[in-house]
């Protein structure tokens, strides 16, 4: 997908450049764009070095697990079909706390571990469970407290108040995360009764794990 967008933009640029007689500007822009890219990244070094140093202190001081404990009561309600004492819950909480603190590098491995644990509860290993979809929805919306990269770029281009986007970002991220939770809930209900989970500790005699209930492979309502 990204490959096509990238290639498409370049090819269309050359076509438009030819039609508009702006070939010279297009050629200049190619090198100018590359230069801006490097300049911007070098400008990011200062803030990212400082911020990631600060965030390492937060990590070492146990702020991630502290935050996870605070979030636990809310998060358990978002994942009603994951047992509260299951290891998956621990990883989900770490993933969300790390996201909240802007620790992207720590959040992703935690999220993947959470997915692996959720997979052990999954009767069909190729189809996502509702809990997996909820975890994904939370990660795509990604609550961010401080958008460091953007602040750094604004600073490098001489903004008078580089940090004044913190408040609107927070407002927007709360709304989009709320929306993600609501929409996820809606689809979860629409998809019908949640599938029976494999109970690793005590298999129930009523439904033997060898015969999971039939379930549509494609989401109802079509693509």
């Amino acid at each position: 997908m990204v490959n096509w967008i990238w290639m498409g933009m370049i090819v269309i640029s050359v076509l438009f450049g030819a039609i508009n007689g702006k070939m010279e500007q297009v050629a200049e822009a190619a090198f100018g764009g590359a230069q801006t890219g490097v300049t911007v990244c070098l400008g990011l070094v200062s803030i990212l070095v400082f911020w990631m140093g600060l965030m390492r202190i937060a990590e070492d001081a146990g702020l991630v697990s502290k935050l996870a404990r605070l979030l636990a009561p809310i998060v358990r309600r978002l994942f009603p079909d994951v047992p509260p004492d299951h290891p998956a819950m621990g990883y989900i909480l770490s993933n969300m706390s790390a996201n909240l603190l802007g620790l992207g590098n720590a959040a992703t491995p935690m999220g993947i571990k959470a997915m692996q644990e959720l997979q052990t509860l999954n009767p069909d290993k190729t189809v996502a469970t509702p809990a997996m979809c909820t975890l994904l929805a939370l990660n795509t919306a990604s609550i961010t407290l401080v958008p460091t990269t953007i602040i750094a770029i604004r600073m490098n281009f001489g903004s008078l108040h580089p940090a004044d986007i913190v408040a609107p970002t927070l407002l927007a991220t709360i709304i989009s995360t709320g929306a993600a939770i609501v929409v996820d809930r809606w689809y979860r209900r629409k998809a019908g009764r949640p599938p029976k989970y494999i109970q690793p500790t005590r298999p129930s005699s009523a439904s033997p794990p060898s015969s999971p209930p039939p379930r549509p492979l494609t989401p109802p309502g079509g693509g």
Binding site: G53, M115, A128, M132, C133, A137, R154, F157
Partner: protein, 179 residues
């Protein structure tokens, strides 16, 4: 209320910067050593995005210089401006769920073209900061455990991106537009 929200912007970062080392000191963590340890990662992160940002910025700069960007944005300008949305953020709405580097490059381009404190650049910055790259997250998370049928996950991600886009525009109108 607005003053309170503006206050969050000014105070959030200094308070976080002071709180974290203080908290760590109470927990008997060697703050400075931790800092140096983590700071090393910042350098490689910043350098690590050079290739993708250069690639995307080159394509976007060419696209703008050729006049293609104006042609496309111009088509949507009347519709967007009726709702108080600068049409220049339209490409961002399309790029954001697909490619993190691409949308970051476009925000950089807008900041460069319109100035960092322009309304357009502020909206773009808010959109960039308030959501993640939906397609990338789905690929990484589901790919890691071999899920092939993602059911409704993509729809949920895209719908919340769509709502987040308007939330970002509304938040900027609320905080910067009425001044």
């Amino acid at each position: 209320m607005l003053d309170l929200i503006q206050l969050v912007s000014t105070w959030a970062i200094p308070v976080i910067i002071a709180f974290i080392p203080l908290y760590a000191a109470f927990r008997k963590i060697p703050t400075y050593e931790s800092f140096i340890d983590g700071a090393k990662d910042g350098f490689s992160t910043a350098i690590g995005i050079i290739p993708s940002l250069v690639g995307m910025l080159t394509a976007i700069s060419m696209f703008r210089a050729s006049g293609a960007m104006d042609a496309i944005i111009g088509l949507f300008r009347p519709l967007f401006e009726r709702f108080g949305v600068p049409a220049d953020v339209l490409p961002l709405a399309l790029l954001r769920p697909l490619t993190g580097a691409g949308s970051l490059a476009y925000v950089t381009d807008l900041i460069k073209e319109h100035g960092p404190d322009s309304f357009v650049a502020r909206i773009a910055s808010t959109i960039q900061g308030s959501t993640d790259t939906t397609l990338y997250v789905i690929t990484v998370y589901f790919g890691a455990v071999g899920i092939r049928n993602s059911r409704y996950a993509l729809k949920v991600g895209l719908i919340s991106d769509f709502i987040g886009f308007f939330a970002a525009v509304a938040a900027c109108w609320l905080l910067f537009g009425l001044v």
